[in-house]
Symmetry: C2
Subunit: 318 residues, 2 copies
């Protein structure tokens, strides 16, 4: 049995075929060209799916289904994209549009839809760092802070449409302004953007900090990696920045553990590339914050990187 996954991103469309364990057998990639009409984007997707179906001689008995990860709010039951932030799609009925593929390949296909962050969570559960687990929470530490929740091997995305907004839990009442319009969200402290904001402030106030040297005295060059690199070189300003960053991240992680008691909590996104330099101090802080001071949830780094979304999308039909 084979599984097709579609990872629709703001930059690229990736369509791939996997086996039941989520091993990717082959992928095709085309640029999304997000400014196009939505129909044209899905014409490309239909075309790529058709190529894989023909290449692998798939039919109703050998293709379990096609799953799609959508960057935005998707009504997974109806197969309707309510809206997307990166691609100007609105109230688009994907399920109806994809029926053309069934006609062209001459068999019925089951289609599945989910938010792309939710797909990434499912991908990690089936084939990544959450393999063998049934309950998982993932936090993506990137430009923003996103996340996904898996309960009993299934995506939990709430009663109404949209992904779990794990980055938009208030951790500091009336704190730093967040992109969502609220103040003090986890995202305003634990995103790479937040770390860069704080690092720029600190570098300005501390001219002798390595942060200035490493950015060639141009704060526009500041990245999260620069801050961690300066910390690794024992720059005291960077040490404080990273410690504060991990402190707030620990608050958000402890909140999620207190609420969900998940089997495993994974970190993904750019900052997670720090690996144990991130998870070790994080665990030390989380254990002081979690209810009863017992850490029964495993904290780990996601392993699938950019493939997580594609694999999770394919596994929607599993």
């Amino acid at each position: 049995m084979k599984y097709i996954g579609v990872d629709l991103g703001g930059t690229n469309i990736v369509v791939g075929v996997t086996d039941r364990e989520g091993n990717v057998l082959k992928t095709y990639t085309r640029p999304t060209i997000a400014t196009r009409k939505t129909e044209e984007i899905f014409d490309d997707i239909i075309d790529m799916c058709k190529t894989l179906i023909e290449e692998y001689n798939l039919d109703a008995s050998s293709l379990k289904g096609i799953g799609m990860g959508i960057p935005g709010e998707v009504d997974s039951k109806k197969g309707v994209i309510n809206y997307s932030n990166n691609i100007p799609m609105k109230d688009f009925n994907v399920l109806a549009y994809m029926q053309r593929l069934c006609k062209e390949v001459n068999f019925d296909i089951e289609f599945y839809f989910a938010n792309d962050a939710d797909c990434a969570a499912l991908g990690e559960l089936v084939a990544g760092a959450g393999k063998g687990c049934s309950n998982l929470v993932i936090l993506t530490l990137g430009t923003g802070v996103g996340g996904g929740i898996i309960i009993d091997n299934k995506i939990y995305s709430g009663f109404y449409a949209g992904g779990a907004e794990l980055g938009h839990q208030t951790v500091v009442h009336n704190g730093e302004p967040c992109t969502c319009g609220n103040k003090g969200c986890l995202e305003a402290y634990a995103s790479a953007t937040a770390l860069i904001r704080d690092a720029k402030r600190a570098a300005s106030q501390n001219p002798s900090s390595l942060l200035n040297t490493l950015t060639e005295n141009n704060l526009d060059n500041m990245t999260a990696k620069v801050v961690f690199d300066a910390k690794d070189q024992n720059d005291s300003v960077a040490i404080k920045l990273v410690d504060d960053y991990i402190e707030y991240l620990a608050v958000g992680v402890a909140n999620l553990i207190n609420i969900f008691k998940p089997e495993v909590l994974l970190l993904s996104g750019g900052i997670s590339l720090q690996g144990e330099k991130l998870t070790k101090p994080l665990e030390e802080k989380v254990i002081t914050k979690v209810f009863g001071n017992k850490l029964l949830t495993k904290i780990d780094i996601a392993t699938l990187g950019n493939d997580a979304g594609l694999i999770g999308a394919a596994m929607l039909s599993r």
Copy 2:
């Protein structure tokens, strides 16, 4: 078909029989006498169950099961009480102990166990303010802040044992000390205890406030109701206290809505008796905090009061 529920509380044991809709047909109550040996407490429970079974002529074909709400951490799969805060029970195998009842009534009985707060959530879903819903979050505003989560008509209590600690999400980093040892938990702001703490401080600082009159100038008489009563009489100090209280409660509620997107979020416990005086201003604040500023979750007051736990326990076997 009948359902027996056991609500084991720190003060009383209530055992009752319900129909499939959670309507309570009859209950028996005995004092818990929490200082007794755990076995003696469960001897009473066996006795009360037996009385109901005989009274209603129940047998394997007419009794669906017996469900128990336990005040503490219970391993519901194994039927073992890990520990309880109010009753000195530890690593007690209830499932094994209850087998004596099966022998005495001469038929096999299915037993179910859950945390008492989780039972209350299930009770409200089946027969209370959440009737007709499938996804629900409940926050209990009492001495502490507790809670329960229902997903797809079932209690969600996490991957490992214990209830959902919804009151122990940090909303103010390094804020007020909490009973759990952490700082800035929702419980430290949205419990009746927190409101009383703040009211005592404010009353001391404002001798002319009605708070002093209503407590007969003895701050030991301060209750949450006194604060709401003073607010209703336009006392400016109390108005500010209630507004601040609802502000923090709104942060916790918005966090839970952003994370769970539940169909309904219920408030229970003493402070919830304020009804719309609580929910109206709460909704106004929550809508400014929730992601996208769209409030798609219904916020309401739990309706079953003390019966919620018993009904939910009975409904564990539904």
